[in-house]
């Protein structure tokens, strides 16, 4: 049954979304659409509105204008039923420094209400994938940057989500761990999970199936990375943003 469900197409449809905090406009008239089977990258420098977008999708914030529609096989769903399908990994270090890898996993198992059998399977699979099995008893506070992020990803993947929101998951992670992290994400996408991640690393944009380019709360463009680069006549996304800066002046 679960397998059948995950074959379903999940869509998040965002139209004319706006969010302000006092005088600051964090998001201005943003529309985008995310669908199962792809890895989406929200690309943009700090302050682009990436985290705000995630929080709005998770309904931790309420938009000032516009709407987010959650669809299952093109049928609109209530967020409450949708929420259980989403796993979220916040940008800030959000694990408990004094709890071990193992304790994190079993804590999130309880929160997600996973039964013991599924948990045992999932746990082994994830530990194998992240190669954290040797560090089960190590407290999260004593893990390296890369291992820490992997543990965060494990906690998010534990619930077998249909959608994953990752807010700058590779920020501050060494190049080798970043590569490993990316292949883990690719595995997740291949399993039929809709993955949306944000990053400020422009080189990562090219690895995504589709990207949304953002700057100062505005959406600059969206689509397949190569096509976007061709239309803008630039070699990479660094140049894309740099050229924009010049145009503004």
């Amino acid at each position: 049954m679960k397998a059948l469900l995950s074959m379903n197409k999940t869509t998040i449809d965002i139209t004319h979304l706006k969010k302000t905090f006092g005088d600051i406009t964090a998001l201005n008239d943003v529309s985008m659409r995310f669908e199962t089977g792809r890895l989406y990258g929200i690309i943009g420098p700090a302050g682009a509105g990436k985290t705000t977008l995630f929080r709005l999708i998770l309904q931790m914030l309420i938009p000032d204008a516009g709407q987010i529609v959650y669809l299952q096989n093109n049928r609109p769903q209530k967020f409450d039923t949708f929420r259980d399908k989403i796993a979220y990994m916040p940008q800030t270090q959000s694990l408990y420094a004094d709890l071990s890898v193992d304790e994190h996993l079993s804590f999130f198992k309880e929160l997600y209400g996973i039964n013991q059998k599924t948990y045992a399977m999932k746990r082994d699979e994830l530990l194998h994938m992240t190669r954290l099995d040797k560090f089960l008893d190590r407290p999260a506070g004593k893990l390296s940057g890369g291992m820490y992020k992997k543990l965060g990803l494990m906690c998010a993947l534990l619930r077998s989500p249909e959608i994953m929101l990752l807010d700058e998951p590779t920020n501050g992670v060494d190049p080798i761990s970043r590569r490993e992290f990316w292949s883990m994400l690719q595995t997740a996408v291949n399993q039929g999970i809709l993955v949306i991640m944000s990053t400020a690393y422009m080189d990562e944009a090219e690895r995504c199936g589709a990207v949304v380019l953002m700057e100062s709360g505005q959406m600059l463009g969206a689509g397949e990375p190569q096509k976007l680069l061709e239309t803008a006549h630039v070699a990479n996304f660094d140049d894309y943003f740099l050229n924009r800066g010049k145009e503004d002046k």
Binding site: P90, Q93, Y96, G113, R159
Partner: protein
């Protein structure tokens, strides 16, 4: 999605216990500090003044004047010593070697015999307000006793009106007996308000709250799971004070355990809610500590009747004190330790306490849910 899941609440509760037992600071604050505070406050709070150094100058040097000094000395309260000159006495007062100076004039006995009244001069260290009021009380008694002694009459004289005072509930007017319930309130304030505010703020500061909120867990489950361990710790703190009071300071307990424990649990609930409210106002631990001190600890110490009696406060402050659960809790606790009134006599503070707790809880939970925005 279930409305309330015991499993998730239990998981948060268990996690919180792990945090507590792995953090020596929290444990110390919760268990060692109460003991320390009771021992320090219990020994230091002594509103009964004893062994008052009394410098005297006897210009009369008669049997009567000696009897007067003897009366002072025969009580536990005064320790008379002789001085030669008034300047010496004043020096002693200034240097706080003496709390009081007594000067007996040359014709003291003569006056006593003829006019039946004698005049003596007493000088007190007015800078020390609390001892002065105590000394003034003792002086009245000494005055009477000395009169009978000098006149050679038995102390039980046939005075037309005899006033015999008996202090009910606290026969010795032992101030420690009076102080203990206040200390309990102070410790619950410390543990419940401070630690609760800290633990929730920590979760915000670390960013783990965001992670938690993205899981199926409900706000009420987070709150119950996180607050329950601290309710337990506060209750332990209460027992530490209670046992120390009973067995170290021998404070009697006449009331009903049911009423005292009931009131204590209500009070803890109220202060947990207050801690929660603070964590809503500020998500930073440092700021939360300051709020906890100002709206938690200070009113508990100053406006609960622990140090300053409520009845003698100006009406405005009486009104303000009624805003804090501590006032009603101290009232109930004090009553249960010493007077042991029945529940029906205590319905006013109990009702007040309950209303406050419901209001605080509602504000806390409602605001907590709102700050997710």
């Amino acid at each position: 999605m279930t409305v309330f899941s015991l499993r998730r609440t239990k998981a948060v509760c268990l996690k919180e216990f792990k945090h507590i037992f792995r953090d020596p600071f929290t444990l110390m604050m919760a268990l060692l500090l109460p003991l320390l505070i009771v021992l320090i406050l219990g020994n230091a709070i002594e509103f009964n003044v004893k062994s008052i150094e009394l410098a005297y100058m006897d210009h009369d040097k008669t049997q009567s004047s000696r009897k007067l000094i003897e009366t002072f000395g025969s009580s536990d309260y005064f320790r008379p010593y002789h001085i030669e000159t008034p300047t010496k006495g004043q020096d002693d007062l200034a240097a706080e070697r003496a709390k009081m100076m007594l000067v007996i004039p040359p014709n003291f006995e003569k006056e006593m015999m003829t006019a039946r009244t004698g005049n003596v001069q007493i000088m007190l260290d007015g800078a020390d307000n609390s001892s002065v009021s105590a000394i003034m009380n003792y002086l009245n008694t000494v005055n009477n006793l000395a009169f009978y002694k000098i006149q050679g009459l038995p102390a039980t004289d046939n005075k037309p009106l005899k006033i015999k005072t008996r202090y009910l509930f606290n026969p010795e007017l032992n101030s420690r007996w009076f102080a203990v319930p206040g200390i309990t309130a102070l410790i619950v304030a410390l543990v419940a308000i401070m630690l609760t505010a800290l633990t929730i703020c920590k979760e915000w500061e670390q960013g783990s709250m965001e992670m938690l909120l993205s899981t199926p867990i409900r706000a009420t489950e987070i709150l119950i799971g996180k607050l329950l361990p601290y309710a337990g710790l506060s209750f332990c703190g209460f027992w530490i004070v209670f046992l120390a009071a009973r067995f170290i300071f021998n404070v009697p307990f006449n009331g009903s355990y049911l009423i005292l424990i009931g009131a204590t649990l209500l009070f803890i609930l109220g202060y947990l809610a207050m801690g929660l409210c603070i964590s809503v106002i500020s998500h930073e631990q440092q700021v939360a500590v300051q709020y906890a001190a100002v709206i938690g600890l200070l009113p508990t110490a100053l406006l609960s009747g622990f140090i300053f009696p409520i009845e003698y406060m100006p009406p405005v402050f009486q009104g303000i004190s009624a805003l804090f659960p501590a006032r009603f809790y101290v009232e109930i606790a004090r009553d249960q330790f010493l007077k042991a009134s029945s529940f029906s006599d205590l319905w006013v503070p109990f009702t007040a306490l309950s209303i406050q707790i419901i209001v605080l809880m509602l504000i806390g939970i409602f605001k907590f849910k709102r700050t997710l925005e």
